[in-house]
C-alpha cells in the first residue's frame, strides 16, 4: 500500500473495525482498547513515515542504506523469532530474491505464529494459531501480542492457496518468559558434603544445622 492509497483510505472516514484491521495488516501495534481517533492517528503517522522511506530509497543505491552502505537484505532466507516479554514476541524475515518473487506472486501472504508448548510440532497440531497478513514490500517484521507467558512459539511465513496455508519459511522456537510464581510445590535441595540432592516434600523444614562461622566447606 502506498502513501496515497493510505490517505485515500483515511479520507473515506473508515469505521474503527476497518481502521484496526488495516493497521494490523500493516504490522502496526493495535491495542484492544484503542479509540478510533488513536487508530487513525497511528495510520496517519505511518503514512508520514512512508514518505521519508521513499526519499531514503531514492537517495541511495538499491539494497543499501544511505550512510554506511549496510545491506537492507542479506538474502539469507531466514525467519527469526525473539521473545520480548511474557506477552510479546518479535519476528523478522530476510528473504532471498527467489523466495521474495515466489511469495510476491501470491495473493495472500501470511505470517503465522504457533503455540507449540510441550508438543512435537508437525505443522498441524499447534495449541493456538495467530495469523497476520503481510505486505512484503512494506513490512519486514512483526510484533505478535501473545496470551501465554512461559510458552513456546514458532513462526511460519507462507501464503494461502485454495484455502490452505502453505509455509515457505519456518523460524526457530522462542519461549516467552514467565511472569507468575510457579504452581509447583516441589522443593529440591543440595546439602553440602553429602553431595546428594534431596527431593523434599513441602513444606521442607529449613536446614537446621547451619553453623555460620565454622562450617568451611571442603567439597569444592
Amino acid at each position: 500500500m502506498t502513501r496515497e492509497e493510505l490517505e485515500v483510505f483515511l479520507s473515506k472516514n473508515p469505521t474503527i473495525q476497518e481502521a484496526k484491521a488495516l493497521a494490523r495488516k500493516l504490522g502496526l501495534k493495535v491495542k484492544k482498547r484503542m479509540k478510533k481517533s488513536e487508530v487513525l492517528k497511528l495510520l496517519q503517522d505511518f503514512a508520514k513515515s512512508l514518505v521519508s522511506q521513499k526519499k531514503e530509497e531514492k537517495a541511495s543505491p538499491p539494497q543499501e542504506d544511505r550512510e554506511n552502505g549496510l545491506p537492507q537484505s542479506y538474502g539469507s532466507d531466514r525467519l527469526v523469532l525473539l521473545s520480548v516479554n511474557p506477552n510479546l514476541v518479535y519476528v523478522y524475515w530476510d528473504l532471498s530474491s527467489e523466495t521474495l518473487s515466489k511469495l510476491s506472486a501470491q495473493k495472500e501472504v501470511l505470517l503465522r505464529l504457533y503455540d507449540v508448548t510441550y508438543i512435537v510440532f508437525d505443522g498441524t497440531n499447534a495449541h493456538r494459531i495467530f495469523e497476520a497478513g503481510v505486505h512484503l514490500s512494506m513490512t519486514r517484521n512483526y510484533y505478535f501480542h501473545v496470551p501465554m507467558a512461559n510458552a513456546d512459539y514458532l513462526a511460519e511465513l507462507g501464503f494461502k492457496a485454495e484455502g490452505k496455508f502453505v509455509p515457505v519459511l519456518r523460524s526457530n522456537v522462542a519461549r516467552t518468559p514467565s511472569n507468575t510464581p510457579s504452581t509447583s510445590v516441589r522443593q529440591r535441595w543440595i546439602i553440602k558434603g553429602k553431595r546428594t540432592v534431596k527431593i523434599g516434600e513441602p513444606p521442607l523444614k529449613p536446614v537446621e544445622r547451619i553453623h555460620i562461622s565454622s562450617q568451611v566447606e571442603s567439597g569444592r
Partner: protein
C-alpha cells in the same frame, strides 16, 4: 545472636569508545567522567577504609571493554591531559571568583583533580591495579562480565555467540588480573534458562539476577531472594533485594535527591561565557559538562538558575545522615527477615558503579560512612559472594526465570521499534563468522588470520547492549546507530576482502588500531564451539 549478610555489588561498565586519531571525542568523555568522578574517588575511599582498618566487602564487576580502556595508553593520555586542563580552568576560576565561597569551591575542585592525577600515576596509569590491590587485601571480590556486555537473552538462538561472549569475558579477566574470575555479571542481568550451562563450561561459579528471576522460577524459592540458589548445572545465582535499591534510587524517597547534595545539571560548561569556556568544552564547540559544579540541588522544584551554592560540609553531613538511615533500615530488615526465616538472610544490593560519584557526587562518602558506622553493629556482616557460598551448607535447586533488570523486567529495552533493525545485521554477521571460522579453521596465513580476528572484534563491538539501550532512551542516538553500522560495515568489508583474496593491509591496520579490544582473540572461538577443538 542471629545476623545477616549484606552484599554490595558494583557493576562497572562502559562501552568501548576509542577514537585514537581524534582529540578527546565527545563520547570518550563518558570514560573520563567515570574515572574522575567515580572510579578514582571510590578507590581512594577503599584506601581510607583500609587504612582505618574498617571492615568492608564489595563485589565489583569490571566489564572487559572497561578493562581494555584502562589499559589503553592513548586514552589515558587524553584523560590526563583533560584533567590538567581542568586544573588550569580551576586556577582561572580562583582568580575570577567574587566571593570566598566561590574561591573555596574552585580550590576544592583544583585539589580534587590534582589528587586524581597523582592517584593515576601511583597506579602506573592503569586503574585495574587499584582494583587488584583491594582484591588482594580480600576486601573486594572482582568478577568479570560477558565480553562486550552483549544482551544474551536475545542471542540464545545462536549459542555460539553466547559461548564466545562468556569465553572472552572470562579470558579478558584472566589476562588483566592473572587469576580466574569466580563470578560473572551478566549484562543487564540478562538471564535465560540454560545460560548457566555455558557459565559452568567456563568455570564460572556464580552470577546475579533480578528479584523476579527467583519469584517466577520453576520452583518457589523458600528463602525468597535472601539466599543464593543453585541452578541444575551447579552454578549459583544471587538475586537483587528490591528494598535496598528502592531506598537509594527512588525518585521521591531516594537519598541522592536531598537538597544539600550537588546539582548534576548545573555545570560551568554551560554557565560561563562561550569564549572563556571554549577551550574546555567539546572541540566542535558544543557545550558539555566539564565536571565543575558550584551548586546544590537546593530543592527539586528550584529551577536551575535559582540553585544555591554548594557547601561541601553540609553535603558530607547529609551523606552521613543517609548512611546511618540506610544502616538502620538494613538492620531492621535483617531482623524481620530473620524472624520470618529463622535463618540468616543474604541481602544483595547491586548498583551501577557510576551512580556513586558521577550521578550522586557524594555517593562514595555515603558508602564510606555506611561501612564505618556498620562496624559498630554485629547484626550486619559484609561478605563477598564466594564467602556467602562457604557460609551455608544447603541451597535450594532452582532454575531462575528468564529476565533482566531493565525496564519492565524483560527484554523490551533492547528489542523494540526503535532498535529492532539491528537484529537483522547481528544475526547475519554471527552466522557468517561461524561459517568462516569453520572454513578457515586450519588457516596458517598470518594476514588472513589477522583479518578473521579483526572480524570477530568488530562483531563483538557491535553486540554491546549499550547501542540498543541508547536508541531506546533517546540520547546520543546518532552515535549508537553509527557505531553499529560502522562495526557491521567493517565486518562485511573485511569479509569481502578475505574471500576475494584482496586484503587491504592499511585498512586492516587502521581497524586494528581503532577497534583494538582483545588483542589476543582467536576467530576459531566461533568454530570451537561446535568442533570442540580449542583454538
Amino acid at each position: 545472636m542471629m545476623n545477616g549478610y549484606f552484599l554490595l555489588v558494583l557493576h562497572t561498565h562502559l562501552p568501548y569508545v576509542n577514537h585514537p586519531n581524534h582529540d578527546l571525542y565527545l563520547e570518550e568523555r563518558w570514560y573520563v567522567e567515570a574515572v574522575l568522578e567515580s572510579y578514582v574517588p571510590l578507590l581512594m575511599m577503599f584506601d581510607r577504609l583500609q587504612e582505618k582498618k574498617v571492615p568492608f566487602k564489595v563485589t565489583i564487576s569490571l566489564s572487559p571493554p572497561l578493562l581494555e580502556m584502562f589499559r589503553n595508553t592513548t586514552l589515558t593520555e587524553k584523560l590526563k591531559k583533560y584533567a590538567e586542563k581542568l586544573v588550569e580552568l580551576c586556577e582561572k576560576e580562583i582568580a575570577r571568583a567574587n566571593t570566598q565561597q566561590e574561591r573555596d569551591l574552585a580550590g576544592f575542585y583544583r585539589e580534587r583533580f590534582l589528587a586524581c592525577l597523582n592517584y593515576l600515576d601511583s597506579l602506573n596509569s592503569n586503574l585495574a591495579n587499584g582494583f587488584k590491590k583491594h582484591a588482594e587485601f580480600g576486601n573486594v571480590q572482582l568478577i568479570t562480565c560477558n565480553a562486550t556486555h552483549g544482551f544474551l537473552p536475545l542471542m540464545r538462538h545462536q549459542p555460539f555467540a553466547v559461548d564466545t561472549q562468556i569465553k572472552v569475558g572470562v579470558e579478558t579477566f584472566k589476562r588483566h588480573f592473572g587469576f580466574e574470575t569466580k563470578g560473572i555479571w551478566l549484562a543487564e542481568c540478562g538471564y535465560y534458562s540454560g545460560l548457566d550451562e555455558t557459565l559452568k563450561k567456563y568455570g564460572v561459579e556464580f552470577f546475579f539476577v533480578d528479584s523476579h528471576a527467583f519469584w517466577y522460577a520453576d520452583e518457589r524459592p523458600y528463602f525468597d531472594v535472601y539466599r543464593p540458589v543453585m541452578t541444575p548445572s551447579g552454578v549459583f545465582a544471587f538475586a537483587r533485594d528490591p528494598e535496598s535499591s528502592e531506598q537509594v534510587w527512588s525518585a521521591t524517597l531516594g537519598y541522592p535527591g536531598d537538597g544539600r547534595y550537588r546539582e548534576f545539571y548545573r555545570d560551568l560548561g554551560f554557565d560561563r561565557d562561550y569564549d572563556y569556556i571554549k577551550p574546555y568544552i567539546d572541540k566542535s564547540g558544543v557545550r558539555v559538562n566539564v565536571g565543575i559544579k558550584y551548586h546544590r540541588i537546593t530543592s527539586r522544584e528550584t529551577p536551575l538558575d535559582k540553585k544555591e551554592l554548594y557547601s561541601r560540609d553540609e553535603a558530607l553531613s547529609a551523606a552521613k545522615e543517609h548512611a546511618l538511615d540506610f544502616l538502620n533500615k538494613k538492620i531492621s530488615q535483617i531482623n524481620s527477615l530473620t524472624d520470618v526465616f529463622n535463618q540468616p538472610p543474604v541481602i544483595v544490593a547491586p548498583f551501577d558503579t557510576e551512580l556513586f560519584g558521577h550521578w550522586w557526587f557524594e555517593g562514595p562518602e555515603f558508602l564510606e560512612n555506611f561501612f564505618v558506622e556498620a562496624s559498630r553493629y554485629r547484626q550486619i556482616k559484609f561478605a563477598t559472594p564466594s564467602e556467602v557460598l562457604e557460609k551455608f551448607d544447603s541451597f535450594q535447586i532452582v532454575t531462575p526465570a528468564d529476565s533482566s533488570w531493565g525496564s519492565g523486567g524483560y527484554f523490551d529495552t533492547w528489542l523494540n521499534g526503535k532498535n529492532d533493525w539491528i537484529q537483522l545485521h547481528l544475526v547475519e554477521i554471527r552466522d557468517r563468522m561461524k561459517r568462516l571460522a569453520e572454513t578457515y579453521f586450519e588457516e596458517k596465513d598470518p594476514l588472513k588470520t589477522r583479518v578473521l580476528n579483526q572480524m570477530l572484534r568488530e562483531l563483538l563491538l557491535a553486540e554491546s547492549s549499550d547501542w540498543p539501550f541508547i536508541m531506546t532512551t533517546g540520547t546520543n542516538v546518532e552515535y549508537a546507530v553509527n557505531r553499529i553500522k560502522t562495526h557491521v560495515k567493517r565486518f562485511l568489508d573485511l569479509e569481502t576482502q578475505l574471500v576475494k583474496d584482496n586484503i587491504d593491509g592499511e585498512f586492516l591496520a587502521r581497524l586494528e588500531q581503532e577497534d583494538d579490544v582483545f588483542p589476543w582473540i582467536d576467530f576459531r572461538y566461533y568454530a570451537a564451539f561446535q568442533t570442540r577443538k580449542e583454538g
